[in-house]
Each structure stands twice: as C-alpha cells, then as structure tokens.
C-alpha cells in the first residue's frame, strides 16, 4: 500500500511538472506562431573558408505552407522554394526546372547553411511530438530562462530529444539544443535581439550551428517581418515558382 501511494505521488508529481511545461510551450507558441507572415531575411553562412550572404523573402501560412524567393547573391537569385505540408519543390531559374526534394535529399543543407530541408519540413507542434518537462532555471545574458527537456514520443522524428531555454517573462526561446538518440548534440540555436512586433515578442536573430559541420554557423537575421497579412492563395502553387 505504501509503495502504491509512493508511485501515485510520483505520477501526480510528473503530471504537474508536465502541465507546467505544456503551459510554457503553449505560451511560446502564442508568440512564435501566427496565422501567416511575410519575412525578409538575410542569412550569413560562416563557412570554414568563406562567408556568404543570402537574402530572401518568404511568405508562410502557419507551419503548413511556405514560399521563399531568394533575392541575392546572383547565383541564387530567382531560386524559389515551395513547401506544401509534407512536400517541397525547388525551382532553379538557370535550368528552368522545378524539382521535388524528397528522400535523402531532404537531409541536404539549405543553401549551404547549417539548416537542412528536413528541419524545414517538420510541421508538427512540439507538444504533438515530444513529452516536455521542466528541468530547471538558467540565466542567458541578463534574461532568466526556464529549461525544458523534450523527449520524442513518436518514432518518425529527426531529433530524439531537445533542450529549450525559454525566457520566463517574454516566453520566447533563447536557446535550443537538438540531440540524437545516442545523446550526441547535433544542432544548437541561439536566438537574440528579441523585439516586440505587432504586440508579440519575437527573436529577430538566430544563429544555427550544425555541430557535425565545420564552420562558425549560420546567422539568420530578420530584416522585416509582418504577421497576419493578406497573402494571395496563388503564391502557394507550383505555377508561382516559374513566375
């Protein structure tokens, strides 16, 4: 009886802990998710030998649909990318071909950055894929954060576990680490320059680092972001790729 009571106490304790984490993730979602958005960005890829700057404009609707047009440099200008749920197409103006990216190609890096196409493809909410629990508090810079540990509860997931540092006042993530099942750290993201945009806190700079890749990471800088705009439906069609 004593043992049963102890187990029940542990389970109820875990549930409270889980609910806390869930509440935090939901508040993060409120900040980070939107009905749609239009983003102009600059991506600086700090390779081992050179650094390259790529600018792009993208339109997205929730996590399901997005359309990106690369604006510079000259070699990438006019390249367009369309994501519709679980499908991804790239249009290359030099070949005038639209190619669907699938299978092992999804593991390739996006424009040589520290991000893979696979990273872009996961539409699911963190709470649908991971079990979250709060494991502590840490300070990042001058901000207090809550450290969440997320462990996969489904099989088809690119990263088995994650650590997420969430600003405990603004509810935006400030740092994230992604791990393989073996425990090896695969990717790290540092988010900064959190600004209030259209009534929500949003980090405008992210530094992605693929830990298995040499180089100093990829700096993703949002130069303009607009939430909940009128985006015409034709943008999210394959026909728009060739326009």
């Amino acid at each position: 009886m004593k043992t049963v009571m102890l187990v029940l106490a542990m389970i109820s304790g875990l549930q409270v802990y889980g609910q806390d984490a869930l509440a935090i993730l939901n508040r993060v979602d409120k900040n980070m998710a939107s009905e749609n958005r239009i983003v102009e960005s600059t991506m600086i890829i700090h390779g081992k030998r050179t650094s390259r700057t790529i600018t792009a404009r993208s339109w997205s609707v929730s996590n399901l649909k997005s359309f990106t047009e690369y604006l510079s440099p000259e070699r990438e200008k006019g390249t367009k990318m369309l994501k519709l749920e679980n499908q991804l197409w790239i249009y290359s103006p030099s070949t005038d071909r639209t190619i669907q990216i699938s299978g092992h190609m999804l593991r390739q890096s996006v424009m040589g950055s520290d991000l893979s196409y696979e990273d872009m493809m996961d539409n699911r909410k963190l709470t649908d894929v991971y079990l979250a629990r709060v494991t502590g508090n840490e300070k990042i810079g001058d901000r207090n954060t809550v450290l969440l540990e997320l462990t996969a509860r489904v099989e088809d997931v690119a990263y088995y576990s994650r650590k997420l540092w969430v600003d405990d006042e603004r509810y935006v993530p400030l740092k994230e680490e992604l791990f393989a099942k073996s425990g090896q750290l695969l990717k790290r993201t540092d988010l900064s320059e959190v600004r209030q945009i259209q009534g929500r806190w949003f980090p405008t700079v992210a530094i992605f680092k693929d830990m298995l890749k040499e180089g100093d990471g990829t700096e993703y800088r949002i130069t303009s972001i607009k939430f909940n705009q009128d985006i015409p439906d034709y943008i999210f069609t394959k026909a728009a790729l060739k326009k």
């Binding site: 390779g47 030998r49 790239i90 071909r97 190619i99 190609m105 424009m111």
Partner: protein
C-alpha cells in the same frame, strides 16, 4: 657425345617422351599463369590509376584525409596556378585536374516534371582542350556505345546501363542535381552527347562524365578542383619514379600548418593499392619459385622412377667400366636436353593460350556485379604477354629438370661395383 646422347633420346621414346611432356606441361602452365596474373594485376592497378588515383595525386590535406567522401568543399582553390607549377616542375609527367562528384541525374518529361531519376557518380575531366589526353587515357572514344564525345560545353556522357535505366539517349536534356562547393543545392542542365560502357560494373551502374569547365560552373568551383592527377611518361606506376616526385613536390609546395595546402599521394598510398602493386611486381618471382619447387619434386620423382627403370642399364654401364661421374654427367646432359626441349614446347603452348586470353578475354561480369570502386576490377579479364613470358619458362623448366636428375642421380654413386654382377644376374 651430345649427338650420341641426343640420338639415344630420340630412339628410346620412353626416355624422352614422358619427361619432355612433364616439363612442357609445367612450363606451359607457368608461362600462361604468369601472363594471366600479370594481365589481371596490371589491369586492376592501371585501371584504378587511370580512372581514379593517377600515378600521383595532388589534393588539399583535408581532402586527402576524407577523400572517400569526395569532399568538394575541401577542394583546392587556384588550381590553374598549381597545375602550371606542376607542369613546369615535372615536365615529363602528364597532369590533369579532375573533379569527382556525386548527385542525381533527373530526366524531365515534356512538362518539365521529373520523368526518371537516378543517383550518379560523376567525373569532371578536361574533355574539350585540344591538347588534353584524358579522352585517350580513359579510352572514352572506344568506350562509346551510342552518340559521340562532348564537343562543346554543356554536354555530358552517361554510362549506357544508366542511360537505359533512366530512359534517356543522345540529344536529350538531363539535369544534374548536386551540391556546390559551398554546400548549396546545385542544378545544371546537360545535353547527353553519348553513352559509354566502362567495362567495370561499379562504373557502369551510374557514372556520368562531363567537361571539367561545366562541372566547375555547376558546382560553383571556379578555378577549383578536387584533385590533380599525374601520370608517368612510361605509362605504368613505378615507386622509383614516384619517390623523387614526392620529395621535389614538397620543395615547391612546403608542408605547413595550412590544412588546405596541397599534398601529394602516390598510387601506392591509395587504399588497397600497395598490396596490388607489390603483388603485380613479385608475382612472376613467386610463381617461378613455387613452380620450381613443385617441378623439382615432380622431376625428382620422375628421375627416381627413370633411375629404377634404367637400373639395369646403368649397372651394366658401370660394370663394363664406365666411370660413375661419366654416367652421372651423361644423365645431366640428357636432362638438360629434355629440359630445353620441354621448355620450348611448353613456352610455345603457354604463349598460345595466353595470346588467346589476351585477345579474347574472359568475361567475369557476373562475379563483379557488386564490386566496389575502391579497386577497379575490369569485367573482362585478359592475360598480358610481356617479354618475361618468353624466358620465364626456361628457369623452372631447365633448372628443375636438372635439379631433379641431379638429386635422383646421386644413387649412381651408391652402387657397389663389386656387387654389380650379382645384381645383374637377377
């Protein structure tokens, strides 16, 4: 006396026919085997050199460490200058910049949508320069199955099996989807100019060949290349030639702390190649040695049997006063004549069989279906007749016969003259 012995051998068929036959068969096997092994070894080593490793290969240090991953992000920059320096420093050698790459070949339908797609291993070679030797070096002209070699930028060759699998032929457009030197996804349209059969299953499965200029454009590798391969003027790999090249190379390109500084590797330094090079060099000696031992044992036995059969004859010769040394010497002379005759016959037949295998080859494609590309194994194996094959048979053929007779003939000295008549009464 030699004429006398020769006549004796001719007239007494039992003394000549079987020993000559034994020597001839042994020598024939020895010559054929030597030509066969030389053919296989040389083909494997040189095919790997021509298609992959060169006799010498220049890469960046980090590229060399990860060469099996074809890390074009670690490729050499300023290849034009490096090539010029190599050509000036080693004018007797032939140097060629190459880019190896992996990717997908995508065939569009009339709407521009993917009709078929397959994974390919690619080689960017100098195909368009008038003084380039790459086409002849890789025997591309004779490997053409359909179409023609690239004559202008934007053209590509596909292995014929791969082209058939994709359902594409000369004149059609395919898109290379690969990865640039910076890691971006690369798209480049090529027109198929022709299809090739390499004769190596690993390569016929999915290889594409394009001009290095196009590959540099496609993969954003201006004035860059994964490797510069060098070939010796004599056309085959030689350690004695390679070692001074390595030494001189580092006088021109000192090895420092820069991991992108060029380094040079010998063919021998390639994975598994050291063993093959040594095997091809020592195979002749090895085969001869093994054969000599085997032949000596066989002929010793044959000599003993012959000695027993000629027991009475030798006894009679000793009994009528012939010296033991004379009898022994005449037997050695006889074996020398048998050895020479057997060797000539055996070498002739061995060379004939080797020539047939050299000209027509033996298709072993069934066994190399899953071969890796680390050491390129040709589908058709051929013997290769070299000068050595004309004389290699004499060493075991004549020497073994002599040794066999010398060993079996020792018994002559053990015969007691006083006992001879008693023995001959039997």
């Amino acid at each position: 006396m030699i004429r006398f012995l020769f006549k004796g051998l001719i007239r007494d068929k039992s003394r000549s026919r079987l020993p000559v036959l034994v020597v001839a068969i042994g020598v024939m096997l020895s010559v054929f085997l030597h030509a066969y092994i030389t053919g296989i070894m040389t083909d494997m080593v040189e095919q790997t050199a021509r298609f992959s490793a060169g006799h010498m290969k220049v890469m960046t240090g980090v590229y060399a460490e990860n060469a099996d991953q074809i890390p074009n992000d670690l490729a050499m920059l300023g290849v034009g200058d490096i090539s010029e320096k190599l050509k000036t420093t080693f004018p007797q050698m032939h140097w060629a910049a190459r880019i190896k790459f992996g990717g997908l070949i995508d065939v569009p339908d009339t709407e521009g949508e993917t009709k078929s797609q397959g994974a390919a291993m690619g080689m960017g070679l100098d195909l368009l320069s008038p003084d380039s030797e790459e086409i002849d070096r890789l025997n591309l002209r004779n490997s053409l199955v359909r179409g023609r070699l690239p004559a202008s930028p934007g053209e590509i060759l596909l292995s014929d099996d791969f082209a058939q699998k994709l359902g594409v032929g000369p004149g059609e457009v395919v898109t290379l989807i690969g990865s640039t030197m910076n890691g971006s996804m690369a798209f480049y349209n090529f027109t198929v100019s022709g299809t090739l059969r390499f004769g190596s299953t690993a390569m016929d499965r999915g290889t594409v060949v394009a001009d290095i200029g196009d590959v540099q454009l496609a993969l954003d590798m201006q004035d860059a290349a994964g490797e510069i391969v060098g070939f010796f003027p004599q056309g085959y790999y030689d350690d004695d030639f390679a070692d001074p090249v390595v030494q001189k190379f580092y006088d021109i390109f000192p090895a420092g702390n820069d991991e992108y500084a060029p380094v040079i590797r010998r063919l021998r330094d390639e994975e598994s190649m050291s063993l093959y090079i040594d095997m091809s060099a020592y195979m002749g000696i090895l085969i001869t040695a093994v054969f000599m031992v085997a032949m000596s044992l066989v002929l010793w036995n044959a000599g003993l049997l012959g000695g027993l059969r000629r027991y009475g004859e030798i006894g009679l010769r000793l009994a009528i006063g012939e010296e033991k040394g004379h009898v022994y010497r005449t037997m050695l002379y006889e074996s020398l004549m048998i050895g020479i005759a057997g060797t000539i016959v055996g070498t002739t037949f061995g060379l004939c069989f080797a020539w047939i295998l050299q000209e027509y080859g033996l298709n072993i494609g069934e066994f190399t279906k899953n071969a890796s590309a680390a050491v390129m194994m040709p589908n058709i194996i051929r013997a290769r007749i070299t000068v050595t094959d004309y004389y290699i048979g004499f060493i075991p053929g004549v020497l073994s016969t002599l040794v066999g007779t010398a060993l079996s003939g020792i018994g002559i000295y053990k015969r007691q003259t006083a006992q001879l008549f008693k023995e001959l009464e039997v």
